[in-house]
């Protein structure tokens, strides 16, 4: 994004551009095909129907909640993985990243056997009067489960790039570990944290498989926008396409937000080789 474009040597063979164009088309073409199918005269009524608005509202609320949960759980995880040193660290990292490669439906089943009525924790929770499966809470948990790795990967990369030299100096100046975290570490990796949070939000917004398995599809309670789209596709293709377009618009906005040139890049101290560009997590396709 920020390469110099002042006529320096590029070193990319011409045929690469042909393949790159094909790759770009592969992403853009289906989107264009979908946009072409939108029934514009009915668009507003379709996306403002009660079911649609409920689904959109639920999606935004649960995604926001799961993003907060991802930050609360993911920041400590990333810190421990980036800065800590303990046996089983590599193993823990692999485990945390597992939801990234796991089919979401498998995640849903795993969650069901943890928090479900007959699950590992479900029985205890039920005694305490909490029933999680097939509730809005379940939606948030399912989304958090699949979105957490995005935040952890993104933040851990930023932490490693930032290094710990500023933290060491802060400590010798008399700042305790919590002060160092609050006043030095987190501000330094804020761009990485922000892009991680945005990616987590995007992943939560697109969550489908784990949600359907673990939370079901109850209008207004667990039926998020992707579930609504899937359901509408069977009966009203126009509505499905219109809602898909809404989701695409939200996704584009989110990606634009996450990948905008971070402010920190400009204020990076020159001359000491620091890179403050946040490490990017692999982009998550909304499922």
């Amino acid at each position: 994004m920020r390469q110099t474009r002042n006529g320096g040597y590029g070193g990319v063979p011409r045929w690469i551009y042909v393949l790159a164009a094909a790759g770009g088309l592969f992403v853009v073409l289906p989107l264009a095909a979908m946009v072409a199918k939108v029934n514009w005269t009915q668009f507003i009524p379709l996306v403002t129907s009660e079911a649609s608005l409920q689904a959109l509202g639920l999606s935004l609320r649960t995604s926001a909640a799961s993003t907060v949960l991802c930050i609360v759980l993911g920041v400590p995880l990333a810190l421990v993985l980036a800065r800590g040193s303990f046996p089983g660290q590599r193993f823990l990292r692999s485990l945390v990243l597992l939801p990234l490669v796991l089919p979401p439906v498998v995640g849903g089943i795993a969650l069901l056997y943890t928090f479900g009525r007959q699950g590992l924790l479900g029985r205890t929770l039920e005694v305490a009067g909490l029933q999680i499966a097939f509730s809005t809470t379940a939606v948030v948990l399912a989304q958090t489960f699949v979105a957490l790795p995005f935040l952890v990967v993104s933040l851990e990369g930023a932490l490693r790039t930032a290094g710990n030299r500023y933290e060491a100096v802060a400590a010798t100046l008399g700042a305790g570990p919590t002060t160092v975290l609050r006043r030095v570490t987190l501000p330094l990796v804020l761009p990485g944290l922000a892009s991680g949070a945005v990616l987590s939000f995007a992943r939560s917004l697109g969550e489908f498989g784990a949600t359907l398995t673990f939370a079901g599809s109850l209008q207004g309670v667990t039926r998020t926008l992707p579930l609504e789209i899937y359901l509408q596709r069977e009966t009203d293709a126009d509505a499905a396409v219109a809602l898909s377009l809404v989701l695409v618009a939200v996704a584009v906005a989110v990606v634009a937000l996450a990948y905008r040139s971070p402010r920190a890049a400009e204020r990076a101290p020159s001359g000491n080789g620091e890179r403050t560009t946040p490490a990017r997590a692999p982009g998550g396709a909304a499922r």
Binding site: A168, T172, G174, R183, P269
Partner: protein
């Protein structure tokens, strides 16, 4: 009210013991990898040694002697570290950077601000207070870093080559500044520059291979170096060997010199011979006549030195001779040639090592 450290890091062959008085500045010098930065990291609490103890003004920094495992966290040590790079926090203004130490100590925002302004004034950087670190030059940033370290009110200030990353115009300015602020303050400064040691330090400690090979008042160490490194700093030729009746025996080389002591030195004990390159003459044939030293050497290098030529030759280590360019041309000197180094015995100082 003293500082003392004794620490060993087996993996790095590091074993050092050092003590500082209440207002003493010590310069630590030595080749790269000699363990200078290891010392500062151990004192600051950024690196845990395998064994040792350290104490600052009656507080234990660490005590890792047999059976004990006391370890004070870096932020409770009062040992501010100033590195080669200023490492100002990029997201804070200059003033906030300097106020960081006092704020961390629990001082109120207003008081921390006042303290920061005072120290910024001390380093003549008051006008930079609202800038971001990215908007500072290297010299300005390092001045602010000095203010930040001092504002933390450290019991011991650790400086790791603070001038090394500065350009030749900024370095003298910072050196003068450090001379002013280090006066009456306890500090350890790592440096490669003998000028820093002379100007800033009361005492110099020479590190060689993770150990202290020599220490003493800067002037004494430079006048009577006991290590090859210190002799190099002072620009002197250095030969280590055993003291004989009239000089020093180092392998096949027998040097005549004057015993630098009131009474004759006991023969057989380890000693060093030191002489300036300017006292060495170069001849193509062996020169006789006492009291002189004359021995064959093979020239390894010829290089410009001031307005003369420095002839480097190998004989039991590197020796140098300074001669005029005209002499070099007359003799037709070139690397690989065998010549004779001739030194008057009176120019060779011999003392125990």
């Amino acid at each position: 009210m003293t500082f003392s450290v004794q620490a060993a890091v087996a993996g790095r062959g590091f074993d050092v013991s050092l003590a500082l008085g209440p207002a003493e500045t010590v310069a630590v010098m030595g080749a790269n990898g000699a363990g200078k930065s290891t010392l500062l990291n151990v004192i600051a609490g950024l690196l845990q040694p395998d064994s040792g103890t350290a104490e600052l003004d009656g507080r234990t920094l660490f005590d890792l002697t047999e059976g004990r495992g006391e370890w004070t966290a870096p932020h409770r040590r009062g040992t501010a570290l100033l590195a080669q790079e200023p490492l100002l926090f990029p997201h804070l203004s200059v003033l906030e950077n300097v106020a960081f130490g006092p704020r961390s100590a629990g001082v109120s925002k207003q008081a921390a601000r006042e303290s920061a302004l005072k120290w910024l004034g001390e380093v003549e950087a008051t006008e930079l207070q609202s800038r971001r670190p990215a908007e500072l030059s290297g010299g300005q940033a390092q001045r602010v870093a000095v203010a930040r370290a001092l504002a933390a009110d450290p019991g011991l200030l650790l400086l790791d080559e603070p001038m090394a990353a500065l350009d030749i115009h900024a370095a003298p300015l910072l050196r003068r500044l450090l001379k002013r602020v280090l006066a009456g303050r306890r500090a350890i400064i790592i440096t490669h520059d003998v000028l820093d040691a002379l100007m800033l330090a009361d005492r110099v400690v020479i590190f060689e291979n993770g150990r202290i090979s020599e220490e003493g008042p800067t002037r004494d160490v430079l006048q009577r170096p006991r290590s090859r490194f210190a002799a190099g700093l002072a620009g002197l030729n250095f030969v280590a060997g055993h003291i004989t009746e009239h000089g020093l025996q180092a392998g096949a080389l027998n040097l005549f010199g004057h015993h630098d002591a009131a009474a004759p030195l006991p023969t057989g004990q380890p000693g060093v011979a030191v002489f300036p390159p300017s006292a060495v003459s170069v001849f193509l044939t062996e020169a006789h006549g006492s009291p002189r030293n004359s021995f064959a050497v093979t020239i390894t290098d010829l290089e410009p030195h001031g307005d003369g030529i420095r002839v480097r030759a190998g004989v039991g280590g590197q020796l140098s001779a300074d001669i005029t360019p005209a002499a070099s041309v007359d003799l037709g000197l070139a690397p690989g040639m065998q010549v004779y180094f001739v030194i008057k015995a009176g120019a060779v100082a011999i003392y125990p090592s």
